[in-house]
């Protein structure tokens, strides 16, 4: 049985046999040079392709994003404001550092699956899922200490003297209590889900 397998080598095993042997035809230098250039092309191409998925145009190329969260975001300060500085979808939803970014991009394969399944392909389905989806983002931001917010909004560089009364008192106590941005700033870029399960005293209806 065993000898039979080694003699009738399939294509993968033949390729492996070939790869195992040292090259007799090409110099080590040539192999290294070709490998180096091919590496640059592969790596550059990989990152370019990944960055192409990191744009607002890419995000709203799906109607799920364009008709729901994007429309809501267009009403907020991160879309339009006094100075015209914007935070687009990936600025808040994709980490900047490579190692975190690649993890997020791998996790996004789940979003592709649900795109194919049509999990939120109507407004009604999206509304029904909103609490769960928002909860996922809140949980992630809490876990990373609102890392994506802090790419722009850093406590270290906040001038409390320029802030309003409420902001000063809230931000200074937040610093002491190790709070993170998302603890208070929920629903700033998209509509909130039904908050009944989060804070029943904050919504109409009996407790």
């Amino acid at each position: 049985m065993n000898s039979n397998k080694s003699t009738e080598c399939n294509i993968i095993c033949r390729l492996w046999e070939k790869l195992k042997k040292p090259s007799l035809r090409y110099s080590l230098g040539a192999l290294l040079a070709v490998g180096f250039v091919a590496g640059i092309i592969f790596w550059g191409g990989f990152n370019t392709a990944m960055e192409m998925t990191n744009t607002e145009e890419f995000c709203i190329s799906c109607h799920e994003m364009r008709d729901n969260v994007y429309e809501e975001y267009k009403q907020t300060i991160h879309y339009t404001n006094r100075t015209g500085v914007r935070a687009t979808c990936p600025d808040c939803h994709v980490p900047k550092e490579w190692q975190h970014k690649i993890v997020r991009k791998i996790k996004a394969s789940n979003e592709l699956l649900h795109k194919a399944l049509g999990t939120i392909d109507t407004r009604e389905k999206f509304e029904a899922k909103r609490l769960e989806l928002a909860g996922n983002v809140w949980k992630a931001m809490k876990k990373t200490d609102s890392r994506e917010c802090r790419n722009c909004h850093d406590f270290e560089f906040m001038d409390f003297g320029e802030q309003g009364r409420r902001a000063v008192s809230q931000h200074s106590t937040a610093l002491d209590e190790d709070k993170t941005c998302i603890d208070c700033h929920k629903g700033i870029a998209h509509e909130l889900p039904d908050m009944h399960s989060i804070d029943p005293t904050g919504v109409i209806g009996s407790n």
């Binding site: 409420r166 629903g187 889900p193 039904d194």
Partner: protein, 151 residues
Amino acid sequence: MINKLSIIASITLGVLAVTTSLQTHSAEVESLRGASELDRNSSAPEHKRYAKDGRPIARDYVQQPPLIPHKIDNYRINLKSNKCLSCHSWKNYREAGATKISQTHFEDRDKHVLANVSARRYFCTQCHVPQVNAPALVENEFEPITAISGE
């Protein structure tokens, strides 16, 4: 025949009266914000700004709903959430350092006390409004009574 004539005459008179009155009034429209020519684009009024953040504003009369002393841009009040209550509810006001909503807000119209904010008091901005830096359109000499102003 006489009847028909009188009808025609009254219609012509009526049309004449309307056109002359339109002519006299088409020149300009007077309002508290000044006169504006109807056949020209009026210049946009200066954009008013909401006061960003301040101390509570004193009431001017006994039943006055307190004014909102801060900006409320993009604060949503709907069946899913109420941004005001995230600071002003009885559960949250201490932590937020905000004024708590009045006890009356838990009563329905028959004065039955409910377990949460009453539906008729839920939409805060029906009564409570923020302020802009606009001068009063009409001069008035209203003074709050001493019991309120303390003066």
